[in-house]
Amino acid sequence: MGRGRSRKPRNFATFRLCPRPGAADASDRVFFRVDNNPYYVPGFADDDVLGGAAAAAVGEGDDDAPSSSASGETGPLPDHVRREILELGLPDDGYDYLAHLREIRPSISSTGGGGASAAFLPVRRHARAHFGPPVDVKAYDASRVRIGSSGKETTTATAAAVEVEVTRIENAIDPDVARLLEESGEPALAGSESESESEDDDLEEDFVLVANQDDDDFVLVEIENQFEEEEENIAAADDSEEDGLKNGECKVGNSASA
């Protein structure tokens, strides 16, 4: 029956409190482990740390700190912690005195300094769209003048043109109107054919004549416009006759070959 039973692991440790070897003070005692169990006790890594922790607990805090508290809190400290402890004038006995330090922060600059600087980004407003100048009435007048010079309109349109011209006659006296006429005439002369140029010249002459005549002379203007229409009709008839002859020549050629 007893052969199959397994032994329980030995998870305990035995220590004895003994005076530190070579210590003059009798109260300077350390813990010594007196068993040979392989069980590892946290906080008792090696003899030096054990000795230091025991000395700190027993020698200095015997009345105020129980050994259980010391064994639970002490242990091997990192090197940087030990270095900092020594720099502050505290003993390097294995206890982390840094846990008892206040929150250290610069006290002089407590009222100022720091703070993220706000980046000022100026808001760029989109410039308003630039609207062009108001409609130039003078340009409008120039376009009306061109309508009057076409000559293809009916009698009613011609009469309307005459009325418009009467309005512009008043403006013709104004030097600005005269300048506008010259400006409108120059591109036309440069870009149009010789016939258009001659028409513009005639138109200017008409304006000059009408400007210097009385109201009773409006009939003369209408007569001139009618003449122009008749001339255009004659030119159109001549063009159609020439087209007919050309067609006849083609027909004769076809019959000869047959």
Partner: protein
């Protein structure tokens, strides 16, 4: 224990709101000469709680050692300050690094917990029931 150390220590016992500054009760103190280090003092000054340091010197019976206001950088950097015994630099150096508390106690201002100072070593260990959870 130097006054520099005292200026940094705080009580973390259960019930302590701030645990700082610890009241200093001096039974025995001594002076150990140390080499002045102006750079160290200028760097440490912003971290010092000046009123607590002045109170500590008053507890030692040295009310005239330090002024009510901390020294300025100009005073610490003054030419010849390290050699002048009466300069602000030397007085600060003496208070922080040359004065050592040998026997006495540190008392928590919130819980009145007493931490003894024995042979220059403060015992800040707490009982199990005093440790914060």
């Amino acid at each position: 224990m130097r006054l520099l150390t005292h200026n940094m220590l705080a009580s973390n016992a259960r019930g302590a709101v701030t645990g700082y500054p610890l009241k200093l009760q001096v039974v025995k103190w001594s002076t150990k000469e140390a080499e002045p280090n102006p750079e160290f003092l200028r760097g440490m000054l912003p971290k010092i709680d000046w009123p607590a340091l002045v109170a500590a010197t008053q507890a030692l019976g040295l009310p005239e050692l330090l002024p009510e206001a901390p020294p300025t950088d100009a005073e610490l950097s003054a030419e010849g300050a390290a050699a002048d015994e009466g300069s602000a630099l030397r007085r600060l150096h003496r208070a922080l690094l040359e004065i050592h508390i040998e026997e006495g106690a540190l008392v928590c201002p919130d819980t009145d917990r007493c931490f003894p100072i024995s042979r220059g070593v403060p015992n800040m260990l707490l009982h199990e029931d005093e440790v914060r959870n």
